[in-house]
Amino acid sequence: MTVRVEPLPAAAAAESRPAPSALGRLAANRAALLSAAGLLLLVAAALLAPWIAPYPYDATDLALGASPPSAAHWLGTDELGRDLLTRLLYGARVSLAVGAAATVVSLTIGVVYGAIAGYAGGRVDQVMMRVVDVLYGLPFIIFVIILMVLVGRSVVNLFLALGAVEWLTLARITRGQVLALKARPFVEGARALGASPWRLLLRHLLPNGIAPIVVYATLKVPDVMLDEAFLSFLGLGVQPPMASWGSLAAEGAVAMEVYPWLLLFPGLALASTLLALNFLGDGLRDALDPHHDEGRLEAGG
């Protein structure tokens, strides 16, 4: 694939200099850097929640009830008088943990599946990829909903179920990488030296093709966080007294006419985090994989 855009004058000037490293390209992307900083701050705040939250997470103040933002409760309180900022900080732990864990699950499944398909090639590959095509067309969240109802609504089940349905794109990417690298001389060389298929895959193919895989895994995090929020919103995800941003937003949506802040702040937290993750993912992709072809992968062209 060739570089696909006509360079503008400024870009052309930049291109006459030696090509910047991936890190350099990322550092030049202010939106991505800002997002990364914000996310780091958020992760730190979530980890430190027990120490920095203004109130214990289960502290209620029934006399106070739902109150709008004030000096004592910066983001207001819910009907039970629970401090919203505190609940959001604890909710961040759940939302981020599910996002990360489900992504790891989907990454594992996707990489194993894609690597096998790409390495095997031929008929096996065709059948395996055809299965992926078919699965793309199924209403997967429906099956997650059924699963959550059946096996119980625990957080572990939640990220297992989400990981089990979100691996398709990652399988495609991994397969593409393995296929492309398989024919390269260094792999031929390793094979000629008698390396086993597993060794080839683990030592040669995957390490060299890892960049786009990692990038798309990053872009998967906002996807699964959105899924989690969606399920929790329907009451099928995290169960009380535990709360995620999705379940907080669900509680807020019920009372949005009277207590709009209960929806506004969880929604804002969720949207800005997803925005940051998307900017960071895009930035990483542009930095590591400048020739990417948006759409082909997600859309299955």
Partner: protein
Amino acid sequence: MLRFVARRLAYALPVLFAVATITFFMMRVAPGGPFDAERRLPDAVERSLRARYQLDRPLLEQYARYMANVLRGDLGPSFRYPDRTVGELIALGLPVSLTLGLAALAVALAVGLPAGVAAAVRRNRAADHATMGLAMLGVSVPNFVLGPLLVIVFALWLGWLPVAGWGSWRHVVLPAVTLGLFYAAFIGRLTRAAMLEVIRHDFVRTARAKGAPERRVVWRHALRIALLPVVSFLGPAAARLLTGSVVVETIFSVPGVGRYFVTAALNRDYTMVLGTALVYSALLVAFNLLVDLAYGWLDPRIREGA
């Protein structure tokens, strides 16, 4: 072309069969049943209920019976609404859900395509950055946050549109926009990327060289090819649109299939869950077929190869 359609249908049937089978056994193997209630039913009542729905038969027999009925187009009685069949309930909800889904798709295309083209044409200028920033925001705001916000602004403050419910076109607007904007944003990004790719090709230069007006070059020649990734995104998009409509139907009290589905899943209404999962899958398979056909129409090379 006919052979292409036939081959696609031949793929579809095993898929639907697998969906039905997996869902059936998933529902039955799990603990808990449709007649679990706060208060335990007397044994005799529960036995007779189980007998009525033939839950007392061996699992394989139930399965065979169910599949045979499905083939005849009978999805069975609903466990929760004893006087209704699943088919009737779905027939009530499906037109509503389809209206909502198509309206949302229309919003997505009507907003996303022009935005993507406009951004590509003004590449790296302020308008491009603004459009793509908005698109990024669009894919980051969950629909259950967007929906209530739209309700607050357009229904409660401005009073232009109803808060919830179903009945007239005015009821369709807010749910359709809530559901469609995410895809508008995604399609905008896809279109921009595809347009930038296409605009460099020789045939575009040829069209320009022939003296075709810029408008025509962009909208006729380039967009037609740039549409390909957008069209192939529509398949998976439809899948997510359907599931998204589950939430949006809940927010806006829209009496569609999605709401039935969530209630049914929570109540372990086996036949209803099975029925909706099957109908959803069949819809998606059909939609993907349409997408494939559109793809072939846009790009003859694919049609030949098929």
